[in-house]
């Protein structure tokens, strides 16, 4: 979707046009859901948070000043919702959910890949909130470092260092998973 069309749809949505907002949801759902899937490790929770984030975006759309992209704005809201949800759960519950998700929903994938996913999930759980979110945003090349810095409210240098260190931790975890196999 080009910027002009997006601006037009935002204008319509601000005026209460639900179908225009639906088109904006369609345009940005992939990036927001991918970010949340990576950061939570649980697809159902990720979609739940994503829906809340989109619903909240509708309410605060008048605050969007177009200095950044809309998907950055939505991801910023999604990040706040994820942090809130994470604080509401104990760390143990989150880990159990991640294990359950791996065993319940991906039974069709090869054992080797499942082991890698599990190792990565464990490594992600051990990272700080900022590191996890920075990795989830930047690894899939969905967002630039600058966009991630804006979403997370962190300095650009911090985001770059989070990504570099986090990537090293994940690769180390994959190495460990390889040795265990």
């Amino acid at each position: 979707m080009d910027a002009g069309e997006e601006a037009r749809l935002i204008g319509l949505a601000r005026g209460g046009d639900f179908s225009a907002y639906g088109r904006l949801v369609d345009a940005h759902q992939a990036a927001v859901r991918a970010f949340l899937r990576r950061v939570t490790g649980n697809y159902a929770d990720a979609d739940d948070i994503a829906q809340d984030a989109f619903a909240r975006t509708w309410e605060v759309l008048h605050r969007f000043d177009a200095t950044s992209s809309l998907r950055t704005f939505i991801c910023g809201i999604a990040f706040q919702y994820w942090r809130r949800a994470r604080r509401a759960q104990s760390r143990r519950e989150v880990r159990e959910t991640a294990y359950a998700d791996l065993s319940d929903t991906r039974t069709d994938e090869p054992l080797e890949r499942a082991a890698q996913r599990l190792a990565l999930r464990k490594a992600m759980d051990e990272l700080s909130e900022g590191q996890r979110a920075a990795l989830a945003l930047c690894l899939g090349q969905d967002f630039t470092h600058a966009e991630a810095a804006e979403i997370l409210g962190l300095p650009l240098g911090t985001v770059k260092s989070h990504v570099t260190r986090g990537r090293a931790r994940l690769q180390a975890a994959l190495g460990v998973a390889g040795v265990e196999r």
Partner: protein
């Protein structure tokens, strides 16, 4: 760079196509939140109105105005209002207008 993509895919894959079901869920949730917000606002307004009406008598009594005097003042104001409408629009107009005002106040509350 392809390592990064592989890591990202292992952590969680992006949906390949935009999901209409997801959009519908978002819009349903948005509408539900809007309804809830509107009902909260209505409830707050109703509480404020009731409090105001309930507070009128004790407040005026604290200033030495009795309930009978207050009711008398309200009655005089209401009578003057109806009289003014009757004078301007005639009896039918006065009734219709009063009914509309009451209905609007009721819906707002």
């Amino acid at each position: 760079m392809s390592d990064d993509l592989e890591l990202a895919a292992l952590l969680g894959e992006a949906p390949r196509t935009s999901d209409p079901g997801f959009r519908l869920d978002v819009l349903a949730r948005t509408a539900k939140r809007a309804r809830r917000r509107a009902s909260r606002r209505r409830a707050a307004r109703r509480v404020a109105h009731s409090t105001l009406v309930g507070a009128v008598f004790p407040v005026f009594q604290a200033f030495g105005v009795s309930a009978a005097q207050l009711l008398l003042a309200a009655g005089v104001l209401g009578f003057t209002y109806v009289l003014a409408l009757l004078t301007i629009d005639g009896p039918r107009g006065a009734l219709a207008r009063s009914r509309a005002v009451l209905r609007m106040a009721f819906w707002r509350a």
